[in-house]
Symmetry: C2
Subunit: 107 residues, 2 copies
């Protein structure tokens, strides 16, 4: 049986965010992402082919959208649906503790 | 923009669990479910056409599987993937606080 804990093993190796794929088939992918003071590179925008539903389970983060400049601050439990190709970037995650994201990508 | 907080408004009206559909299209459905001492009726088994990925975000629960009698105790952060048609039931959720589930159904 596939099982685990979303708050277990938050260790990050190297400089990138940690990404664990928890479930996937051809149409859906569920990822746990761990950030620690990570942010998207200056000038970089995610421009995804898939819809994304994302929640912050611990920590805190800020997402900015390209189209209308909306800035969304996410705290524990906050979730957001991001349509495919709505360009966005993560401008901040807290340095105080790991930020645990749960992201569901689907099309 | 579709957004919310997974731990907001946990009120339950009536005797059934509370189910909020957070996102859905023809192939995927993301639900927040709130239980408070709820359990599946005696002799009832979920037998679902869809795969399910489910996590407990607060509270605690116990799921039992029909095929091999496996009993899984879920605490905060624990997640589980349940294949379609693997019969299961919720035998217990804590009466001490709301149990918040995040469930992703997909096929």
């Amino acid at each position: 049986m596939n099982q685990g804990n979303l708050h277990a093993d938050l260790s990050i190796k190297g400089t990138q965010e940690r990404v664990d794929v928890l479930a996937a088939n051809g149409r859906i992918r569920i990822e746990r992402i761990v950030s620690l003071a990570h942010q998207s590179p200056e000038g970089f925008w995610y421009d995804q082919d898939e819809d994304e539903w994302v929640a912050v389970l611990s920590g805190a983060a800020i997402i900015e959208f390209d189209d209308d400049g909306t800035v969304v601050r996410l705290q524990v439990g906050d979730w957001l649906q991001i349509p495919a190709h709505r360009r966005h970037r993560v401008t901040w995650t807290t340095p105080d503790e790991p930020t645990v994201w749960l992201a569901v990508f689907y099309s």
